[in-house]
């Protein structure tokens, strides 16, 4: 029997299926002889878990159920992504502390990211702003270099 919720729970490296309808091996009766009401009684709590109301399950349009299943899959995917991101921040925090603790004297300390990681794509304005900042920074660096060069040159001429 196909199971709508798929594999969900991680334990170690193994993925386990959430308990669902008893498989045909678990049941003494073959699928074709199992009363539909038994199947519905078992399915109801699982559909409620993914957000279907009791009334909608028993009295509503069953063709809407697949959207709840899709929504649940997306939510699980999102939650998984959030946990992964949290792991990444924890990794950053840990490596910052450890590398600073073990760093040689005078070494530039490693910093924890000042801003959260960006999760959405940059807008056109932001891209334009970033380009402008890059050009300005480059210009400032050139000017500083030029200043240093002029100072050094005038010192050499004066001395």
């Amino acid at each position: 029997m196909e199971r709508p919720f798929g594999k969900l729970r991680m334990e170690g490296n193994e993925v386990e299926e959430l308990p669902y309808l008893p498989s045909e091996e678990d049941s003494s009766k073959p699928e074709s002889e199992t009363p539909i009401s038994d199947m519905l009684d078992k399915l109801c709590p699982y559909y409620m878990m993914i957000g279907v109301s009791y009334d909608e399950f028993w009295h509503g349009d069953y063709t809407h159920l697949k959207y709840y299943v899709e929504k649940y899959k997306l939510e699980t995917e999102r939650r998984n992504h959030e946990l992964w991101l949290q792991g990444l921040y924890n990794y950053d925090a840990l490596t910052t502390v450890i590398s600073n603790a073990l760093a040689k004297k005078g070494a530039t300390p490693k910093k924890y990211p000042e801003k959260p990681y960006r999760l959405t794509e940059k807008t056109e304005e932001e891209k334009e702003e970033e380009k402008k900042n890059m050009v300005e920074n480059f210009r400032a660096q050139l000017m500083a270099l030029d200043r240093r060069f002029s100072q050094k040159h005038s010192k050499e001429q004066g001395g």
Binding site: M1, P4, P35, I36, M39, H59, Y62, T63
Partner: protein, 124 residues
């Protein structure tokens, strides 16, 4: 606006509009009253009127059983007046009863998460 692919049977009878469909609650009610839906194929041949009556529970729960019987006979008669249709094995196909069977099958497939919707709608 109704946004659904659910198969229903709609018709007018005696100046009233009927919309027949199954829900989880109505199928459970049918089984509680002794209908063996797990043996749907047998039911279609042995007791099609019981399946028809069950399709009234969702939207017309108080409909008089005598009226339902009358409607069933009338719909069957209408179907009988039309050119008979046969399946691959040469058996005569009863469109009304086939539609009821398909509606139950469709519902079970949807609950089990299978894409079992036939995408058609029976309207009389």
């Amino acid at each position: 606006m109704q946004n659904s692919n659910k198969t229903r049977i709609e018709f007018d009878y005696g100046g009233k509009h009927y919309k027949l469909e199954y829900t989880a609650a109505t199928l459970k009610k049918m089984e509680r009253s002794g209908v063996k839906l797990a043996k749907l194929d047998d039911m279609i041949f042995s007791a099609p009127e019981i399946l028809f009556r069950g399709a009234f529970y969702a939207n017309h729960p108080t409909e008089n059983p005598a009226t339902i019987h009358e409607i069933f006979k009338a719909l069957k008669r209408t179907a009988d007046d039309e050119e008979p249709k046969y399946d691959e094995d040469g058996n005569e196909v009863d469109e009304l009863v086939t539609a009821l069977g398909s509606m139950i099958e469709e519902a079970v497939n949807e609950w089990k998460g299978r894409s079992g919707n036939s995408g058609w709608k029976v309207t009389r």
